[in-house]
Symmetry: none
Subunit: 193 residues, 4 copies
DNA sequence: CATGAATGAGAGTTCATTCAT
DNA sequence: CATGAATGAACTCTCATTCAT
């Protein structure tokens, strides 16, 4: 796979978009600034993307894909519910902590009306293998028989809350937090006897 | 008497700001649109607020104050840790579900760089009575001995996640969810023997 | 002559106008600022003046009248040309140095297109007694037989140049300058044998 | 070649600025009007200048430089004091009469608080060769031993007064005036035996 | 007479987008 | 493919003026 000049430029644009929207918000991330950070002309953006909306949409879709691939990369359907959940949970946390620029960008888009409604309406369907695992857990009496959205809100999203607070400079996540966070996530959704 | 008119106009501006920033984001909520929704001239905004930044800052501070007052209104320090926590938790949920415009606006501001850093840096200090309660819970061996930020992320914030998803039209919270959510919150932070 | 409340307010407005236009220029001297400095409501200005243009025009005319009255107050037509000129010259200088706010304001208006053309077209006709004196001086062979405008430019206006430079903070007029200035003025216009 | 177009547009903007500020004053010379007179979009101004203040500052500095270069272009330090002074004086007059738009603009800026203080504080230092000449004249007992600012006010600035009056339509400079003006200037500053 | 509140019109400025090269 | 120059539209904000009281 040859990395032509074009691909490099496109990548630079995607990275610049992520960085600037994270730092300054969608407003205050003008095309000219994005272009400058990517070291291209503003006009060049329009060779790769239709317009600003399309740029943000495409970046969102691509990053989300990378995220989804990453978190399920090591997951096997044969795993037990608890093992599978922990694995996925730790992959998600790993991604959010190590690729936090990308993770922050996804959260921005989830929350702000900056990407097209249609794209955002997919909701949590990209987590399908996790949803399937939870279903299995419910069937086996291991996971609470509650809505997937509740499970998501209590088991998956809190780590994002921590990340946001860290990004805002009001909290610093330290290594032991991760284990404690996992414990809390599991306690929140597991069915106690 | 003379103040009445002013107060009405100011209130209309605050409401318009909340609604438009919720719907369209800070960008795409131009002063002219805010003015029109509040049925005043754009110039009138500047009689009540110094500029757009000041408008958003002030709305944030005022709504946050209303929120904080509301959630602790019925709380008494004599309550047991578990009773106190449940009470506060339910007041928070009640506010977020019934005054969801205001709640959404607060979340917008917590996440986006649209209000001044100094104001946002207060973090979760406005929840002081809850933090004190948690401290008591930790001392009594009832609450997990983990960071308040972790407790917040797992016990308080998930309800916001649900609200956002509902606002986005991808989920509808139903009455039984609230009880299940409370159970999950408590399971996540309580110290099991 | 009773100083009613009205007259006091009008005077305050005139003074405020002079001060603000001197300090900040016509632009940057908004009606609201003028009103505030005069301690009245913006609306009150319109009880005394038709609009901003009218305000500036009237202030100009009134100050110019005060100036003209002052500089000829002690002049007698029986004086010799040289005595009469020196007397008027020194009265002009005295006014410009001691009532320099008012003097600066007149200069502003002479130079800027801020007062109505018709009013400014009067030119130097308000100096009629001086022009008459110069005519006498020309007839008597004491003053150079050149245009009154030239005489004005060389004998009267330079003191304004000094005042402006002082106001700008690039020069400080000291007492001996006045005598030297008078000497230069006289040398410039007197007819040498 | 590529720069040509830019230089043309920039020049048009500078000219438009001079003309409009002369005619209407700093106030009443809105960017939109300047743009229209220069036949460009308002936004284009901001490609060449940071803002309105910067535009006026830069125009002032550039015109002043042209003026200074012009008036000393034919001057030689070997000249006698009287010859040198007459030469410079006549170059100054020539510039003010023939490039009167530019000359008027410089006067506007000298008088009004429309350019930055720092730039205006240079005062008459741009006339250094003339100031040196005057010093020589004082040493040789040819020029009155008085402040350079007095010399400036009486020998150099009066021609501006005439120009202003002409611009205002209340006087018309005729050719013989120039010689008479020079005579008056010299009489005002030369030391009589 | 006097006012504080209100505003329409227009100021300076920015920005997503286009186009000649 | 890539660009710098250019722009119309829209933004935030100001101000001379008015009006209900």
């Amino acid at each position: 796979m040859k990395l032509t000049k074009s691909i490099i430029k496109r990548k630079a644009l995607v990275d610049a978009t992520i960085q600037l929207i994270n730092e300054d918000g969608f407003h205050n991330a003008p095309m000219s600034k994005i272009a400058k950070l990517a070291s291209v002309s503003p006009a060049t953006i329009y060779l790769y993307f239709e317009n600003k909306q399309d740029l943000v949409n495409k970046v969102f879709i691509e990053i989300k894909e990378i995220f989804t691939t990453f978190i399920f990369e090591t997951y096997l359907e044969e795993m037990t519910v608890e093992d599978g959940f922990e694995l996925i949970w730790r992959r998600i946390s790993l991604f959010k902590l190590e690729q936090c620029k990308e993770a922050m960008f996804l959260m921005h888009c989830d929350f702000n009306p900056i990407i097209d409604k249609k794209i955002r309406e997919e909701g949590i369907t990209h987590l399908q293998p996790l949803l399937d695992l939870w279903q299995r857990g419910k069937n086996e009496g291991i996971i609470k028989p509650i809505s997937n959205y509740l499970l998501f809100a209590y088991a998956i999203n809190p780590i994002s809350t921590l990340l946001i607070m860290q990004q805002q400079g009001i909290y610093t996540i330290n290594p032991s937090d991760i284990n404690e966070a996992y414990k809390a996530a599991w306690d929140a959704i597991k069915l106690s006897k």
